[in-house]
């Protein structure tokens, strides 16, 4: 695999889109969290001071893991976009064929793309850890690992986003269509998810059936649903009426979707004409 990744690196290291999008993402992670940090400091705390609640800093230790994971999660479309470009490039340039002609197996071709998606997810997670530590350090609280599970949820979300990007790329093969379909799917799933959430609320209040937030059981919303902004006092009050949060079920579903995306991508490349 190391040999395959070294070859893949030869394709990447001189690619401007790779350098630009990666830099944008890294910059975006810091900027987004900085904005949340500043907004909270300047606005939320002032509102709280009026008497609506107690002091609340989302970048306190224990909360910083969750807040950074949640805020950075909004940017995960950027690495996914980069992956779509990288994978569909192979089909546009027909280098997917040439790689196989030159001696890679179809499994090797798709494995290195999957590996790229996983490495991207790991690197973005590492970036989350560094950012969480940095903002946590500025919060004035002492270091704590509590709530680090949210970083794990972030990794799961990054894997979902990246592997869906690879799957759509090997299915659609055209850059523009693949990017379009990816975002349409995210949007459509979000709408369906909200409708399912409304239905879940209705079931709970009218029929006393508590199936959890069903919107969270959809492929992308499973990992999305795990990442939430830390409960502020207002949100905590509202929570009593929401359906139960079956976190483990959502985690299992998110993992299953990641595995499914992997299997479908692999199958598509191995079985079909290139």
């Amino acid at each position: 695999m190391l040999k395959l990744l070294k070859t893949e690196w030869l394709k990447l290291k001189n690619y401007n889109a790779f350098i630009v999008l990666s830099s944008f993402f890294a910059l975006g992670v810091f900027t987004t969290n900085y904005i949340v940090f500043t907004v909270n400091k300047n606005i939320v705390n002032k509102v709280n001071a009026v008497g609506l609640g107690t002091s609340f800093n989302p970048y306190d230790f224990t909360r910083t893991w969750q807040t950074t994971s949640y805020a950075t999660g909004w940017l995960l479309m950027l690495p996914a976009l980069l992956l779509i470009i990288l994978v569909t490039n192979e089909f546009n340039y027909r280098t997917n064929r040439q790689n196989i002609i030159d001696g890679w197996s179809r499994q090797e071709f798709i494995s290195v793309k999957i590996a790229l998606a996983v490495i991207t997810a790991l690197v973005t997670t590492l970036l989350v850890i560094i950012t969480a530590l940095t903002f946590g350090a500025f919060s004035g609280t002492s270091f704590a690992m509590d709530g680090f599970s949210h970083v794990g949820y972030f990794l799961l979300k990054a894997l979902s986003y990246n592997l869906l990007a690879v799957l759509i790329s090997v299915w659609i093969r055209r850059t523009g269509f693949a990017i379009g379909l990816y975002f349409i799917y995210l949007g459509a799933e979000n709408i369906i998810s909200q409708l399912l959430d409304v239905w879940s609320l209705k079931l709970r209040s009218e029929s006393k059936i508590d199936l959890g937030s069903m919107g969270d059981y959809l492929p992308m919303n499973a990992s999305d649903g795990l990442l939430t902004f830390p409960d502020n006092p207002l949100k905590s009050m509202a929570k009593a009426n929401l359906p139960t949060d079956y976190t483990w079920l959502v985690i299992i579903m998110a993992v299953l979707y990641v595995v499914l995306f992997y299997i479908l991508s692999r199958r598509s490349v191995v079985k079909s004409d290139q």
Binding site: K3, K6, T7, L10, K11, N14, Y15, N16, N89, Y93, R94, T95, R97, Q98, N99, I100, I101, D102, G103, W104, S105, R106, E108, K271, S272, D273, Q274
Partner: protein, 295 residues
């Protein structure tokens, strides 16, 4: 030893049958041409052999064994179009090809020299002309000096000088004992460089074998006399003549290339009591032979 053995290979694209049970073998050390008009299945056949397409039926062997990825690393292949990363230079692209094939980068300068791209080796692939792209693809196939080369339409997009250079290169590689499998729709190209040929038409293998036997260039002598049937009967006894056939109000006599002697035909007929009203030598062009084979 057979370099490639194709056994009853078929490929369907939906209802369209691109290959219909094709079987042949490529002996070692030959320049093997796969000849056929556009859409006859040449690239499909090579695509299956190179594992970029899945066969619908049949199979193939490379070096007498079931195909493996390792075998493809030992074959230099240009299939259909030059496939490179547009944003990378020739050298950067060849580094990728060399890494996949398991070679070092030391051979890159040599192959770029062979295909006359040394001066532009650091230019992006996207800035290359069609001919330069084609030459780079041939260069990539030569990486690691493989004993077997597969060229699909190798002179596509090249100017006349480039075409002549590539043909010379193929001859030179053949003289070094390499086996070359070349697909082409250009009969002239196959005739000039190939030792063996397989002819495909709409996915069916029409014939295959030694190029001199299949693309034999016959002379045709067309004769006519008042009594055509008597003329045809007499001509059957003509020494040295091949096939004889009656077409419209003439009789055609086929001779091996360069052996037709009009005076001898005239004399033979006269000696047998026939006075010819028409006598003409028709050189059969390779194109007409090609049409005859594929139509």
């Amino acid at each position: 030893m057979e370099i490639l053995t194709v056994e009853n290979l078929s490929k369907n694209y939906g209802k369209i049958q691109a290959l219909k049970g094709v079987s042949f073998a490529v002996p070692a050390g030959t320049v093997f041409g796969i000849l056929g008009p556009n859409g006859s299945g040449k690239t499909t056949l090579l695509g299956i052999v190179m594992d970029v397409l899945k066969a619908s039926g049949g199979g193939y062997k490379i070096f007498g064994a079931a195909p493996t990825n390792q075998q493809r690393k030992q074959i230099g292949t240009l299939l259909e179009t030059p496939n490179f990363y547009h944003y990378l230079s020739a050298v950067q692209n060849l580094k990728i090809a060399a890494a996949i094939k398991g070679h070092g980068v030391e051979d890159i300068d040599r192959v770029l020299e062979i295909v006359n791209l040394s001066a532009r080796k650091n230019s992006r692939f996207s800035t290359y002309s069609l001919g330069m792209k084609q030459r780079l693809a041939i260069g990539a196939a030569l990486l690691g000096n493989p004993d077997v080369l597969v060229f699909d339409e190798p002179t596509n997009g090249l100017d006349p000088v480039g075409i002549a250079e590539i043909r010379e290169l193929i001859k030179k590689l053949s003289q070094q004992g390499k086996t070359i499998i070349m697909a082409s729709h250009l009969l002239d190209e196959v005739e000039k460089v190939c030792t063996h040929v397989a002819i495909l038409k709409q996915g069916t293998l029409i014939t295959h074998g030694d190029v001199n036997e299949i693309l034999v260039n016959e002379d045709t002598v067309e004769v006519s006399a008042p009594d055509i049937s008597q003329l045809e009967n007499i001509l059957k006894q003509l020494p040295g003549a091949g096939k004889i056939e009656s077409v419209d109000k003439t009789v055609r006599i086929y001779f091996p290339s360069g052996t037709a002697n009009l005076a001898a035909v005239n004399q033979f007929c006269f000696n047998n009591g026939i006075v010819l009203s028409h006598l003409q030598l028709k050189k059969k062009s390779l194109e007409s032979k090609f049409f005859e084979l594929t139509n």
